[in-house]
Amino acid sequence: MGKVIVVTSGKGGVGKTTSTANLGTALALLDKTVVVVDADVGLRNLDIVMGLESRIVYTSMDVIEKQCELSKALVRDRRVDGLMLLAASQKNNKDDIQPEQMKAICDKLRTTHDFVLIDSPAGIERGFSNASAGADEAIVVTTPDVSAIRDADRIIGLLQNARIEPINLVINRFSPQLVGNGSMMDQADVLDILNIDLIGIVPEDSEVITSTNRGIPLVYEDASAGAQAYMRIARRLTGQRIPIPDFEQKGLLNNIMNWFKKKK
């Protein structure tokens, strides 16, 4: 039986889709069988971020309306074994799907795959209840800024009410340099506020943007800091114990540079 994990956040634009695409791909690279599910009905993005947009024929809506079998709606990613995408319908909206229908899809996928990752829309409304309906576990993505963290706390409350556990935190777009000069909260600050388990920190990385432009998830090229961070998170999801590196140490030189800049 596979695990269903919803990737969610309160605020939009913090990196849910990027994280789903990279973690899904990373898990497949680790020889797991994976389905990534786009639950952002009406605003689908996972297909284009993964570079699979030209191959979508059916969506979860077609499955729900019994226009096609679930297995036929899954798009195989040809770059790695064991990775599939279930796209969201772009012409419908979130109210056209019921939470039970999403749950039924997840329950089926779980019998045939090791991991089902659900890319959730932002917010606390219907889109969230659809995305989390079939989930066993959650990954909450936040950036280290006040609005994203505040909204993350709200989502964590809703996930706890829904008895979804564990809830793991990903801190995305972390900048050692900004932490070093005191302009960004560090991981201890964020964890002190949100009080959940941290599963990884993804640094701010321009490679995220170029890889998204190309439709090739970052983790295929494992040189970048972002790719390495996502690979480590994927390993942790498979149960490996891998310490979270202290990004701040690298910031020491930056600290000194920034100190001089500030003095000017």
Binding site: D145, V146, I149, R150, D153, R154, G157, V179, G182, S183, M184, M185, D186, D189, D192, I193
Partner: protein
């Protein structure tokens, strides 16, 4: 007399510590607001059910969430004036 290095250089407090402080306050308030809404809803729903069995005045009702160690205890007082005789009503 003690002068901290911060004071000596006249530096402003780090904006990240201000962010953390503000967040802690606002999130405490957010959590209370959510609890408050849930409690109000629970209050209404409980009263609806209990009204089938008892007669009570709405403004005498007290509901509180108490924390004892790691667990919460919900204490609800619905002082009633009359017990409906359901056998008669049916």
């Amino acid at each position: 007399m003690s002068i901290s290095i911060k004071q000596l250089f006249g530096r402003k407090p780090k904006s990240s510590s201000i962010a953390k402080q503000r967040l802690k306050l606002v999130i405490t308030q957010d959590r209370l607001d959510v609890d408050d809404r849930v409690m109000t809803r629970l209050h209404h729903e409980l009263a609806e059910v209990l009204a089938k069995y008892f007669e009570f005045s709405a403004n005498s009702v007290k509901m509180n969430l108490k924390q004892e160690g790691n667990s919460y205890i919900l204490v609800a007082d619905f002082p009633y004036t009359k017990f409906h005789d359901l056998n008669v009503r049916q």
